[in-house]
Amino acid sequence: MPGLEDLYREIILDHYRTPRNRGELAPPAVRAEGHNPLCGDEIQVYLDVVDGVVNDIKVAGQGCSISQSSASMMSQAVKGKGLAEVRALVRRFRGMMSVEDAEDEITAAETAAVKLGDLEALQGVVKFPVRIKCATLAWNTLLLAMSELPAA
Protein backbone atom coordinates (compact mmCIF):
# COMPACT_ATOMS: atom_id res chain seq x y z
CA MET A 1 0.00 0.00 0.00
CA PRO A 2 1.36 3.42 -0.90
CA GLY A 3 2.22 5.48 2.15
CA LEU A 4 1.34 9.07 2.88
CA GLU A 5 4.93 10.11 2.18
CA ASP A 6 4.27 9.33 -1.50
CA LEU A 7 1.49 11.86 -1.47
CA TYR A 8 2.59 14.62 0.83
CA ARG A 9 6.10 15.44 -0.40
CA GLU A 10 7.76 18.40 1.27
CA ILE A 11 7.61 20.57 -1.86
CA ILE A 12 3.87 19.97 -2.10
CA LEU A 13 3.32 21.00 1.48
CA ASP A 14 5.50 24.06 0.88
CA HIS A 15 3.30 25.19 -2.03
CA TYR A 16 0.23 24.43 0.09
CA ARG A 17 1.44 26.55 3.02
CA THR A 18 2.80 29.33 0.82
CA PRO A 19 0.83 29.36 -2.41
CA ARG A 20 2.37 31.33 -5.27
CA ASN A 21 0.40 33.66 -7.56
CA ARG A 22 -2.66 33.82 -5.37
CA GLY A 23 -5.17 36.53 -6.11
CA GLU A 24 -7.30 37.88 -8.90
CA LEU A 25 -6.76 39.77 -12.13
CA ALA A 26 -9.02 42.40 -13.59
CA PRO A 27 -10.31 42.10 -17.15
CA PRO A 28 -9.20 41.83 -19.89
CA ALA A 29 -7.69 38.83 -18.09
CA VAL A 30 -10.13 35.94 -18.51
CA ARG A 31 -11.56 34.14 -15.52
CA ALA A 32 -12.56 30.48 -15.33
CA GLU A 33 -14.03 28.53 -12.46
CA GLY A 34 -13.54 24.85 -11.65
CA HIS A 35 -15.27 22.54 -9.17
CA ASN A 36 -14.25 19.22 -7.78
CA PRO A 37 -17.68 17.72 -7.21
CA LEU A 38 -16.17 15.06 -4.94
CA CYS A 39 -14.74 17.25 -2.19
CA GLY A 40 -16.26 20.62 -2.91
CA ASP A 41 -12.99 22.28 -3.90
CA GLU A 42 -13.44 25.40 -5.95
CA ILE A 43 -10.83 27.21 -7.93
CA GLN A 44 -10.73 30.36 -10.02
CA VAL A 45 -8.01 30.87 -12.58
CA TYR A 46 -7.32 34.37 -13.95
CA LEU A 47 -5.31 34.36 -17.13
CA ASP A 48 -3.75 37.34 -18.82
CA VAL A 49 -2.33 36.52 -22.24
CA VAL A 50 -0.50 39.08 -24.33
CA ASP A 51 0.70 38.26 -27.83
CA GLY A 52 0.21 34.55 -27.28
CA VAL A 53 2.26 34.48 -24.08
CA VAL A 54 1.02 34.10 -20.50
CA ASN A 55 1.75 37.56 -19.17
CA ASP A 56 0.19 36.92 -15.77
CA ILE A 57 -1.81 34.26 -14.00
CA LYS A 58 -3.50 34.24 -10.59
CA VAL A 59 -5.32 31.56 -8.70
CA ALA A 60 -8.08 31.95 -6.11
CA GLY A 61 -10.36 29.54 -4.30
CA GLN A 62 -10.27 26.89 -1.62
CA GLY A 63 -9.06 23.35 -1.62
CA CYS A 64 -7.04 20.56 -0.15
CA SER A 65 -3.25 20.41 -0.08
CA ILE A 66 -3.10 18.57 -3.37
CA SER A 67 -5.38 20.85 -5.35
CA GLN A 68 -3.86 24.00 -3.89
CA SER A 69 -0.25 23.00 -4.35
CA SER A 70 -0.95 21.75 -7.84
CA ALA A 71 -2.51 25.12 -8.67
CA SER A 72 0.41 26.99 -7.20
CA MET A 73 2.99 24.98 -9.10
CA MET A 74 0.98 25.24 -12.27
CA SER A 75 0.85 29.02 -12.04
CA GLN A 76 4.62 29.16 -11.70
CA ALA A 77 5.15 26.73 -14.52
CA VAL A 78 3.01 28.49 -17.11
CA LYS A 79 3.85 32.09 -16.38
CA GLY A 80 5.87 33.54 -19.25
CA LYS A 81 5.25 30.55 -21.52
CA GLY A 82 3.70 30.63 -24.97
CA LEU A 83 0.26 29.08 -25.36
CA ALA A 84 1.45 26.14 -27.45
CA GLU A 85 3.99 25.32 -24.80
CA VAL A 86 1.32 25.62 -22.10
CA ARG A 87 -0.90 23.22 -23.97
CA ALA A 88 1.89 20.68 -24.20
CA LEU A 89 2.55 21.10 -20.50
CA VAL A 90 -1.09 20.52 -19.59
CA ARG A 91 -1.08 17.43 -21.71
CA ARG A 92 2.10 16.18 -20.16
CA PHE A 93 0.82 16.79 -16.66
CA ARG A 94 -2.53 15.14 -17.33
CA GLY A 95 -0.59 12.26 -18.86
CA MET A 96 1.40 11.88 -15.65
CA MET A 97 -1.94 11.80 -13.81
CA SER A 98 -2.95 8.99 -16.21
CA VAL A 99 -5.68 11.08 -17.81
CA GLU A 100 -5.75 10.17 -21.46
CA ASP A 101 -6.25 12.98 -23.92
CA ALA A 102 -7.49 12.44 -27.43
CA GLU A 103 -4.95 12.85 -30.21
CA ASP A 104 -4.67 16.39 -31.42
CA GLU A 105 -2.14 18.65 -33.12
CA ILE A 106 0.35 18.31 -30.24
CA THR A 107 2.58 15.36 -31.02
CA ALA A 108 3.66 12.78 -28.50
CA ALA A 109 7.26 13.89 -29.03
CA GLU A 110 6.42 17.52 -28.22
CA THR A 111 4.61 16.41 -25.08
CA ALA A 112 7.41 14.14 -23.97
CA ALA A 113 9.90 16.98 -24.42
CA VAL A 114 8.12 19.15 -21.83
CA LYS A 115 9.98 19.53 -18.54
CA LEU A 116 7.81 19.16 -15.44
CA GLY A 117 10.34 20.36 -12.86
CA ASP A 118 8.80 20.68 -9.40
CA LEU A 119 5.57 19.26 -10.72
CA GLU A 120 7.20 15.82 -10.72
CA ALA A 121 6.55 15.86 -6.97
CA LEU A 122 2.87 15.28 -7.73
CA GLN A 123 3.71 11.98 -9.40
CA GLY A 124 2.80 10.12 -6.19
CA VAL A 125 -0.83 11.21 -6.52
CA VAL A 126 -1.44 8.55 -9.20
CA LYS A 127 -1.22 5.93 -6.50
CA PHE A 128 -4.26 7.55 -4.86
CA PRO A 129 -6.74 7.56 -7.74
CA VAL A 130 -9.35 9.56 -5.84
CA ARG A 131 -6.90 12.42 -5.47
CA ILE A 132 -6.16 12.67 -9.19
CA LYS A 133 -9.16 14.95 -9.56
CA CYS A 134 -7.66 17.22 -6.90
CA ALA A 135 -4.36 17.42 -8.75
CA THR A 136 -5.92 18.08 -12.15
CA LEU A 137 -8.54 20.60 -11.02
CA ALA A 138 -6.34 23.67 -11.59
CA TRP A 139 -5.18 22.34 -14.94
CA ASN A 140 -8.66 21.65 -16.25
CA THR A 141 -9.67 25.12 -15.13
CA LEU A 142 -6.66 26.56 -16.94
CA LEU A 143 -7.82 24.80 -20.12
CA LEU A 144 -11.23 26.33 -19.61
CA ALA A 145 -9.70 29.78 -19.23
CA MET A 146 -7.64 29.27 -22.39
CA SER A 147 -10.74 28.27 -24.31
CA GLU A 148 -12.28 31.59 -23.35
CA LEU A 149 -9.44 33.73 -24.63
CA PRO A 150 -10.48 36.02 -27.47
CA ALA A 151 -9.36 34.52 -30.77
CA ALA A 152 -6.01 36.06 -31.75
Partner: protein, 410 residues
Protein backbone atom coordinates in the same frame (compact mmCIF):
# COMPACT_ATOMS: atom_id res chain seq x y z
CA UNK B 1 -15.75 -22.04 -28.86
CA UNK B 2 -18.50 -24.53 -28.91
CA UNK B 3 -21.61 -23.74 -26.97
CA UNK B 4 -23.27 -26.33 -24.78
CA UNK B 5 -26.57 -25.41 -23.18
CA UNK B 6 -26.37 -28.29 -20.70
CA UNK B 7 -23.10 -26.89 -19.33
CA UNK B 8 -24.47 -23.37 -19.28
CA UNK B 9 -27.54 -24.55 -17.44
CA UNK B 10 -25.39 -25.82 -14.56
CA UNK B 11 -24.38 -22.23 -13.84
CA UNK B 12 -27.98 -21.35 -12.98
CA UNK B 13 -28.90 -22.52 -9.48
CA UNK B 14 -32.64 -22.00 -9.93
CA UNK B 15 -32.72 -24.41 -12.88
CA UNK B 16 -31.37 -27.09 -10.58
CA UNK B 17 -34.40 -26.71 -8.39
CA UNK B 18 -37.52 -28.79 -8.58
CA UNK B 19 -41.04 -27.61 -7.97
CA UNK B 20 -43.48 -30.29 -6.82
CA UNK B 21 -40.80 -32.82 -7.66
CA UNK B 22 -40.36 -31.71 -11.26
CA UNK B 23 -37.71 -29.51 -12.88
CA UNK B 24 -38.52 -25.98 -13.95
CA UNK B 25 -38.83 -25.38 -17.68
CA UNK B 26 -38.16 -21.66 -17.75
CA UNK B 27 -39.40 -20.18 -21.01
CA UNK B 28 -39.94 -16.59 -19.90
CA UNK B 29 -36.53 -15.04 -20.47
CA UNK B 30 -37.88 -12.31 -22.74
CA UNK B 31 -39.65 -11.16 -19.59
CA UNK B 32 -36.62 -11.46 -17.34
CA UNK B 33 -33.69 -13.87 -17.39
CA UNK B 34 -32.37 -16.09 -14.64
CA UNK B 35 -29.03 -15.32 -12.96
CA UNK B 36 -25.89 -17.45 -13.16
CA UNK B 37 -23.85 -18.32 -10.07
CA UNK B 38 -21.12 -16.00 -11.39
CA UNK B 39 -23.38 -12.95 -11.16
CA UNK B 40 -24.89 -13.91 -7.81
CA UNK B 41 -21.39 -14.48 -6.43
CA UNK B 42 -20.08 -11.18 -7.76
CA UNK B 43 -22.88 -9.37 -5.94
CA UNK B 44 -22.49 -11.35 -2.74
CA UNK B 45 -18.73 -10.96 -2.66
CA UNK B 46 -18.99 -7.27 -3.36
CA UNK B 47 -21.41 -6.82 -0.46
CA UNK B 48 -19.33 -8.98 1.85
CA UNK B 49 -15.95 -7.45 1.05
CA UNK B 50 -16.04 -4.25 -0.91
CA UNK B 51 -19.30 -2.38 -0.45
CA UNK B 52 -18.78 1.37 -0.12
CA UNK B 53 -20.07 4.62 -1.58
CA UNK B 54 -19.15 5.50 -5.15
CA UNK B 55 -17.54 8.72 -6.36
CA UNK B 56 -17.99 10.48 -3.05
CA UNK B 57 -15.58 9.38 -0.39
CA UNK B 58 -11.78 9.25 -0.55
CA UNK B 59 -10.78 6.29 1.63
CA UNK B 60 -9.41 3.09 0.08
CA UNK B 61 -12.59 1.06 0.49
CA UNK B 62 -14.54 3.73 -1.38
CA UNK B 63 -11.82 4.17 -3.98
CA UNK B 64 -11.77 0.43 -4.67
CA UNK B 65 -15.55 0.23 -4.89
CA UNK B 66 -15.55 3.17 -7.30
CA UNK B 67 -12.95 1.39 -9.42
CA UNK B 68 -15.10 -1.77 -9.54
CA UNK B 69 -18.14 0.30 -10.42
CA UNK B 70 -16.41 2.25 -13.18
CA UNK B 71 -14.82 -0.97 -14.36
CA UNK B 72 -18.32 -2.32 -14.94
CA UNK B 73 -19.10 0.78 -16.99
CA UNK B 74 -16.12 0.02 -19.21
CA UNK B 75 -17.26 -3.59 -19.59
CA UNK B 76 -20.77 -2.57 -20.59
CA UNK B 77 -19.36 -0.01 -23.01
CA UNK B 78 -17.12 -2.60 -24.66
CA UNK B 79 -19.94 -5.12 -24.83
CA UNK B 80 -21.89 -2.85 -27.18
CA UNK B 81 -18.73 -1.41 -28.79
CA UNK B 82 -19.32 2.10 -27.47
CA UNK B 83 -16.58 4.52 -28.51
CA UNK B 84 -16.20 5.59 -24.88
CA UNK B 85 -17.34 4.21 -21.53
CA UNK B 86 -18.35 7.74 -20.53
CA UNK B 87 -21.17 7.49 -23.05
CA UNK B 88 -22.78 4.74 -20.94
CA UNK B 89 -25.35 6.12 -18.49
CA UNK B 90 -26.63 3.74 -15.84
CA UNK B 91 -30.37 3.89 -15.25
CA UNK B 92 -32.77 1.69 -13.30
CA UNK B 93 -34.04 -0.12 -16.39
CA UNK B 94 -34.58 0.32 -20.12
CA UNK B 95 -37.85 2.06 -19.36
CA UNK B 96 -36.02 4.80 -17.51
CA UNK B 97 -33.47 5.00 -20.32
CA UNK B 98 -36.22 5.63 -22.86
CA UNK B 99 -38.03 8.10 -20.59
CA UNK B 100 -34.74 9.92 -20.06
CA UNK B 101 -34.39 10.49 -23.78
CA UNK B 102 -38.02 11.45 -24.32
CA UNK B 103 -38.02 13.79 -21.35
CA UNK B 104 -34.60 15.37 -21.59
CA UNK B 105 -33.80 15.37 -25.29
CA UNK B 106 -37.48 15.53 -26.14
CA UNK B 107 -38.41 18.54 -24.03
CA UNK B 108 -35.33 20.40 -25.28
CA UNK B 109 -35.91 19.64 -28.94
CA UNK B 110 -39.53 18.78 -29.67
CA UNK B 111 -42.30 21.28 -30.10
CA UNK B 112 -45.92 21.32 -31.20
CA UNK B 113 -46.37 19.58 -34.52
CA UNK B 114 -42.96 17.88 -34.51
CA UNK B 115 -43.11 14.30 -35.70
CA UNK B 116 -41.84 11.22 -33.88
CA UNK B 117 -41.95 7.95 -35.80
CA UNK B 118 -42.54 4.66 -33.95
CA UNK B 119 -43.43 1.19 -35.15
CA UNK B 120 -46.48 -0.95 -34.55
CA UNK B 121 -44.40 -3.49 -32.65
CA UNK B 122 -43.09 -1.23 -29.90
CA UNK B 123 -43.14 -2.09 -26.22
CA UNK B 124 -45.15 0.30 -24.01
CA UNK B 125 -41.81 1.66 -22.75
CA UNK B 126 -41.26 3.10 -26.22
CA UNK B 127 -44.83 4.33 -26.66
CA UNK B 128 -46.10 5.84 -23.43
CA UNK B 129 -43.24 8.36 -22.96
CA UNK B 130 -44.11 9.72 -26.43
CA UNK B 131 -47.83 9.79 -25.65
CA UNK B 132 -46.92 11.90 -22.65
CA UNK B 133 -45.15 14.36 -24.95
CA UNK B 134 -48.14 14.34 -27.28
CA UNK B 135 -50.27 15.45 -24.34
CA UNK B 136 -47.75 17.95 -23.00
CA UNK B 137 -46.23 19.32 -26.19
CA UNK B 138 -48.54 18.52 -29.04
CA UNK B 139 -45.97 16.44 -30.93
CA UNK B 140 -47.38 14.03 -33.51
CA UNK B 141 -46.76 10.29 -33.86
CA UNK B 142 -46.45 8.28 -37.04
CA UNK B 143 -46.28 4.51 -37.09
CA UNK B 144 -44.38 2.12 -39.30
CA UNK B 145 -46.80 -0.73 -40.07
CA UNK B 146 -46.05 -4.44 -40.20
CA UNK B 147 -46.06 -7.03 -42.94
CA UNK B 148 -48.22 -10.15 -42.69
CA UNK B 149 -45.34 -12.16 -41.23
CA UNK B 150 -44.59 -9.59 -38.55
CA UNK B 151 -41.70 -7.66 -40.01
CA UNK B 152 -41.57 -3.90 -40.43
CA UNK B 153 -43.26 -2.86 -43.66
CA UNK B 154 -40.74 -0.41 -45.05
CA UNK B 155 -42.62 0.40 -48.24
CA UNK B 156 -43.50 3.92 -47.15
CA UNK B 157 -40.60 4.47 -44.79
CA UNK B 158 -39.25 7.51 -46.60
CA UNK B 159 -42.66 9.15 -46.51
CA UNK B 160 -43.14 8.35 -42.85
CA UNK B 161 -39.73 9.76 -41.99
CA UNK B 162 -40.17 12.84 -44.12
CA UNK B 163 -39.86 15.84 -41.83
CA UNK B 164 -39.60 13.66 -38.71
CA UNK B 165 -37.35 14.64 -35.83
CA UNK B 166 -37.10 11.23 -34.16
CA UNK B 167 -37.30 7.60 -35.21
CA UNK B 168 -37.54 5.35 -32.17
CA UNK B 169 -37.83 1.62 -32.75
CA UNK B 170 -37.09 -1.77 -31.31
CA UNK B 171 -34.15 -3.86 -32.46
CA UNK B 172 -36.06 -7.02 -31.63
CA UNK B 173 -39.74 -7.41 -30.87
CA UNK B 174 -40.49 -8.90 -27.47
CA UNK B 175 -43.71 -10.42 -28.89
CA UNK B 176 -42.92 -11.54 -32.41
CA UNK B 177 -39.21 -12.15 -32.01
CA UNK B 178 -38.64 -10.05 -35.14
CA UNK B 179 -35.17 -8.59 -35.53
CA UNK B 180 -35.33 -5.27 -37.34
CA UNK B 181 -32.73 -3.92 -39.80
CA UNK B 182 -31.30 -1.39 -37.35
CA UNK B 183 -28.46 -0.08 -39.52
CA UNK B 184 -30.74 0.47 -42.49
CA UNK B 185 -33.34 2.18 -40.28
CA UNK B 186 -30.71 4.47 -38.79
CA UNK B 187 -29.46 5.41 -42.23
CA UNK B 188 -32.97 6.17 -43.44
CA UNK B 189 -33.68 8.26 -40.35
CA UNK B 190 -30.46 10.21 -40.65
CA UNK B 191 -31.07 10.81 -44.33
CA UNK B 192 -34.37 12.38 -43.31
CA UNK B 193 -32.68 14.44 -40.59
CA UNK B 194 -34.18 12.48 -37.69
CA UNK B 195 -32.26 11.14 -34.71
CA UNK B 196 -32.58 7.44 -33.87
CA UNK B 197 -33.41 5.76 -30.61
CA UNK B 198 -32.97 2.00 -30.53
CA UNK B 199 -34.82 -0.05 -27.94
CA UNK B 200 -32.26 -2.83 -27.72
CA UNK B 201 -33.73 -4.43 -24.62
CA UNK B 202 -34.40 -7.74 -26.42
CA UNK B 203 -31.43 -7.51 -28.72
CA UNK B 204 -28.40 -6.99 -26.49
CA UNK B 205 -28.94 -10.20 -24.46
CA UNK B 206 -29.08 -12.37 -27.57
CA UNK B 207 -26.81 -10.92 -30.25
CA UNK B 208 -23.49 -9.25 -30.91
CA UNK B 209 -24.25 -5.58 -30.47
CA UNK B 210 -22.26 -2.84 -32.15
CA UNK B 211 -23.71 0.62 -31.71
CA UNK B 212 -21.12 2.10 -34.05
CA UNK B 213 -21.99 -0.20 -36.93
CA UNK B 214 -25.64 0.52 -36.30
CA UNK B 215 -24.91 4.23 -36.46
CA UNK B 216 -27.54 4.81 -33.77
CA UNK B 217 -27.83 7.92 -31.63
CA UNK B 218 -29.41 6.42 -28.48
CA UNK B 219 -29.53 2.77 -27.42
CA UNK B 220 -31.47 1.52 -24.37
CA UNK B 221 -31.29 -1.85 -22.62
CA UNK B 222 -31.77 -3.60 -19.26
CA UNK B 223 -29.46 -5.73 -17.16
CA UNK B 224 -32.12 -8.13 -15.89
CA UNK B 225 -32.80 -9.57 -19.35
CA UNK B 226 -29.13 -10.39 -19.96
CA UNK B 227 -28.29 -12.54 -16.90
CA UNK B 228 -27.61 -9.46 -14.79
CA UNK B 229 -29.30 -8.14 -11.66
CA UNK B 230 -32.62 -6.35 -11.57
CA UNK B 231 -32.57 -2.66 -10.72
CA UNK B 232 -30.15 -1.47 -13.37
CA UNK B 233 -30.30 -0.59 -17.02
CA UNK B 234 -28.26 1.46 -19.42
CA UNK B 235 -28.53 4.18 -21.97
CA UNK B 236 -25.80 4.63 -24.51
CA UNK B 237 -25.69 7.79 -26.56
CA UNK B 238 -23.24 9.79 -28.59
CA UNK B 239 -21.28 12.06 -26.26
CA UNK B 240 -22.21 15.17 -28.20
CA UNK B 241 -25.92 14.47 -27.71
CA UNK B 242 -25.56 13.78 -24.01
CA UNK B 243 -23.44 16.89 -23.55
CA UNK B 244 -26.04 19.10 -25.17
CA UNK B 245 -29.03 17.67 -23.32
CA UNK B 246 -30.51 19.22 -20.19
CA UNK B 247 -30.41 16.99 -17.09
CA UNK B 248 -33.17 14.52 -16.28
CA UNK B 249 -33.40 13.92 -12.52
CA UNK B 250 -31.85 16.46 -10.14
CA UNK B 251 -29.85 15.71 -7.01
CA UNK B 252 -26.49 14.54 -5.76
CA UNK B 253 -23.73 13.44 -8.15
CA UNK B 254 -25.22 15.15 -11.21
CA UNK B 255 -24.11 18.66 -10.23
CA UNK B 256 -20.96 20.71 -10.53
CA UNK B 257 -22.31 23.36 -8.19
CA UNK B 258 -25.52 24.14 -6.32
CA UNK B 259 -26.38 27.56 -4.94
CA UNK B 260 -29.51 28.96 -3.43
CA UNK B 261 -30.30 30.49 -6.80
CA UNK B 262 -29.44 27.68 -9.19
CA UNK B 263 -27.15 24.85 -10.15
CA UNK B 264 -24.72 23.72 -12.83
CA UNK B 265 -24.35 20.18 -14.10
CA UNK B 266 -21.49 17.72 -13.81
CA UNK B 267 -20.07 16.30 -17.05
CA UNK B 268 -21.63 13.13 -18.50
CA UNK B 269 -22.26 10.43 -17.49
CA UNK B 270 -22.64 11.84 -13.93
CA UNK B 271 -25.06 14.49 -15.23
CA UNK B 272 -27.66 11.78 -15.80
CA UNK B 273 -26.96 9.71 -12.70
CA UNK B 274 -28.63 11.60 -9.87
CA UNK B 275 -28.46 10.11 -6.41
CA UNK B 276 -26.85 6.94 -5.15
CA UNK B 277 -26.65 4.56 -8.11
CA UNK B 278 -27.48 0.84 -8.01
CA UNK B 279 -23.92 0.16 -6.87
CA UNK B 280 -24.08 -3.59 -6.31
CA UNK B 281 -26.27 -4.04 -9.37
CA UNK B 282 -23.88 -2.23 -11.69
CA UNK B 283 -21.08 -4.46 -10.46
CA UNK B 284 -23.36 -7.46 -11.06
CA UNK B 285 -24.16 -6.23 -14.55
CA UNK B 286 -20.43 -6.11 -15.22
CA UNK B 287 -20.20 -9.75 -14.13
CA UNK B 288 -23.10 -10.62 -16.46
CA UNK B 289 -21.26 -8.99 -19.35
CA UNK B 290 -18.16 -11.03 -18.48
CA UNK B 291 -20.28 -14.16 -18.39
CA UNK B 292 -21.89 -13.55 -21.77
CA UNK B 293 -18.61 -12.46 -23.32
CA UNK B 294 -17.03 -15.73 -22.24
CA UNK B 295 -19.87 -17.64 -23.91
CA UNK B 296 -19.47 -15.52 -27.01
CA UNK B 297 -22.46 -13.60 -28.29
CA UNK B 298 -22.10 -15.09 -31.77
CA UNK B 299 -22.42 -18.55 -30.18
CA UNK B 300 -25.43 -17.38 -28.21
CA UNK B 301 -27.11 -16.18 -31.38
CA UNK B 302 -26.33 -19.39 -33.24
CA UNK B 303 -27.67 -21.48 -30.34
CA UNK B 304 -30.88 -19.52 -30.26
CA UNK B 305 -31.36 -19.74 -34.02
CA UNK B 306 -31.05 -23.52 -33.82
CA UNK B 307 -33.40 -23.64 -30.90
CA UNK B 308 -36.01 -21.41 -32.51
CA UNK B 309 -35.82 -23.55 -35.62
CA UNK B 310 -36.27 -26.73 -33.62
CA UNK B 311 -39.11 -25.37 -31.51
CA UNK B 312 -41.04 -24.01 -34.48
CA UNK B 313 -40.65 -27.27 -36.38
CA UNK B 314 -41.59 -29.43 -33.42
CA UNK B 315 -44.70 -27.44 -32.61
CA UNK B 316 -45.95 -27.14 -36.16
CA UNK B 317 -45.25 -30.76 -37.01
CA UNK B 318 -47.09 -31.89 -33.92
CA UNK B 319 -50.03 -29.53 -33.92
CA UNK B 320 -50.39 -28.35 -37.52
CA UNK B 321 -53.24 -25.89 -37.85
CA UNK B 322 -54.03 -26.10 -34.15
CA UNK B 323 -51.13 -23.81 -33.42
CA UNK B 324 -50.37 -20.38 -34.87
CA UNK B 325 -46.90 -19.03 -34.23
CA UNK B 326 -46.72 -15.29 -34.77
CA UNK B 327 -43.82 -13.46 -36.36
CA UNK B 328 -41.35 -14.26 -39.12
CA UNK B 329 -40.73 -17.86 -40.17
CA UNK B 330 -37.27 -16.94 -41.49
CA UNK B 331 -34.89 -17.72 -38.64
CA UNK B 332 -32.40 -15.14 -39.91
CA UNK B 333 -34.66 -12.28 -38.90
CA UNK B 334 -36.07 -13.58 -35.66
CA UNK B 335 -34.96 -14.54 -32.18
CA UNK B 336 -36.09 -17.46 -30.06
CA UNK B 337 -39.18 -15.69 -28.72
CA UNK B 338 -42.32 -17.45 -29.88
CA UNK B 339 -45.77 -15.99 -29.38
CA UNK B 340 -48.49 -18.41 -30.27
CA UNK B 341 -52.20 -19.18 -30.24
CA UNK B 342 -53.35 -22.72 -29.53
CA UNK B 343 -56.77 -24.24 -30.32
CA UNK B 344 -58.62 -21.10 -29.31
CA UNK B 345 -57.70 -21.57 -25.68
CA UNK B 346 -57.22 -18.28 -23.93
CA UNK B 347 -53.48 -17.79 -23.28
CA UNK B 348 -54.09 -17.24 -19.60
CA UNK B 349 -55.79 -20.61 -19.32
CA UNK B 350 -53.11 -22.16 -21.47
CA UNK B 351 -50.32 -20.87 -19.26
CA UNK B 352 -52.17 -22.20 -16.23
CA UNK B 353 -52.29 -25.65 -17.73
CA UNK B 354 -48.63 -25.54 -18.81
CA UNK B 355 -47.73 -24.48 -15.30
CA UNK B 356 -49.00 -27.84 -14.05
CA UNK B 357 -45.93 -29.19 -15.84
CA UNK B 358 -43.69 -26.37 -14.53
CA UNK B 359 -43.53 -25.00 -18.04
CA UNK B 360 -43.24 -21.25 -17.47
CA UNK B 361 -44.55 -19.13 -20.31
CA UNK B 362 -45.98 -15.67 -20.20
CA UNK B 363 -49.58 -15.11 -21.16
CA UNK B 364 -50.73 -11.58 -21.75
CA UNK B 365 -50.28 -8.50 -23.87
CA UNK B 366 -46.52 -8.41 -23.23
CA UNK B 367 -46.67 -4.64 -22.77
CA UNK B 368 -47.46 -4.24 -26.44
CA UNK B 369 -51.20 -3.64 -26.56
CA UNK B 370 -51.22 -1.81 -29.90
CA UNK B 371 -49.50 -4.80 -31.50
CA UNK B 372 -51.93 -7.19 -29.79
CA UNK B 373 -54.87 -5.35 -31.31
CA UNK B 374 -53.28 -5.69 -34.73
CA UNK B 375 -52.86 -9.42 -34.16
CA UNK B 376 -56.56 -9.47 -33.37
CA UNK B 377 -55.98 -10.85 -29.90
CA UNK B 378 -55.86 -9.29 -26.51
CA UNK B 379 -53.24 -11.74 -25.39
CA UNK B 380 -50.86 -14.40 -26.64
CA UNK B 381 -48.91 -17.12 -24.92
CA UNK B 382 -45.20 -16.56 -25.32
CA UNK B 383 -42.36 -19.03 -24.92
CA UNK B 384 -38.97 -17.34 -24.96
CA UNK B 385 -35.75 -19.33 -25.00
CA UNK B 386 -32.31 -18.34 -23.78
CA UNK B 387 -28.81 -19.72 -23.31
CA UNK B 388 -29.83 -22.24 -20.66
CA UNK B 389 -32.64 -23.74 -22.72
CA UNK B 390 -32.24 -26.62 -25.10
CA UNK B 391 -34.31 -28.91 -27.29
CA UNK B 392 -35.67 -30.78 -24.29
CA UNK B 393 -37.37 -27.59 -23.15
CA UNK B 394 -39.06 -27.24 -26.51
CA UNK B 395 -40.18 -30.85 -26.19
CA UNK B 396 -41.54 -30.22 -22.70
CA UNK B 397 -43.55 -27.34 -24.04
CA UNK B 398 -44.92 -29.45 -26.86
CA UNK B 399 -45.81 -32.28 -24.46
CA UNK B 400 -47.49 -30.00 -21.96
CA UNK B 401 -49.71 -28.51 -24.64
CA UNK B 402 -51.17 -31.95 -25.25
CA UNK B 403 -53.31 -31.91 -22.12
CA UNK B 404 -54.58 -28.39 -22.59
CA UNK B 405 -57.52 -28.94 -24.87
CA UNK B 406 -59.01 -31.79 -22.84
CA UNK B 407 -59.88 -29.53 -19.95
CA UNK B 408 -61.71 -26.99 -22.01
CA UNK B 409 -63.39 -29.61 -24.16
CA UNK B 410 -62.72 -27.48 -27.17
Amino acid sequence: MSFDAATVRKDFPILDRTLDGRPIVYLDSANTSQKPRQVIDAMTQFMENSYAPINRSAYKLAADATELFEGARRKVGEFINAPSADEVVFTKNATESLNLVASSWGRANLHAGDVVVLTHMEHHANIVPWHMLVAERGIRLRWVPLTADGQLDLTDLATLLDGAKVFSFTAMSNVLGTITPVKLLCEAAHAAGAITIVDACQYVPHNVTDVQTWGADFVAFSSHKMCGPSGVGALWARAALLDAMPPFLGGGNMIADVRLDGFTCAPVPAKFEAGTPPIVEVVGMGAAVDYLTALGMANVRRHEMDLADYAINTLTERYGDDITIHGPTNIEVRGATLSFAFRGIHPHDLSQVLDQHNVCVRAGHHCAKPLMRLLGANATARASFYIYNDESDADSLADALEGASDIFGL
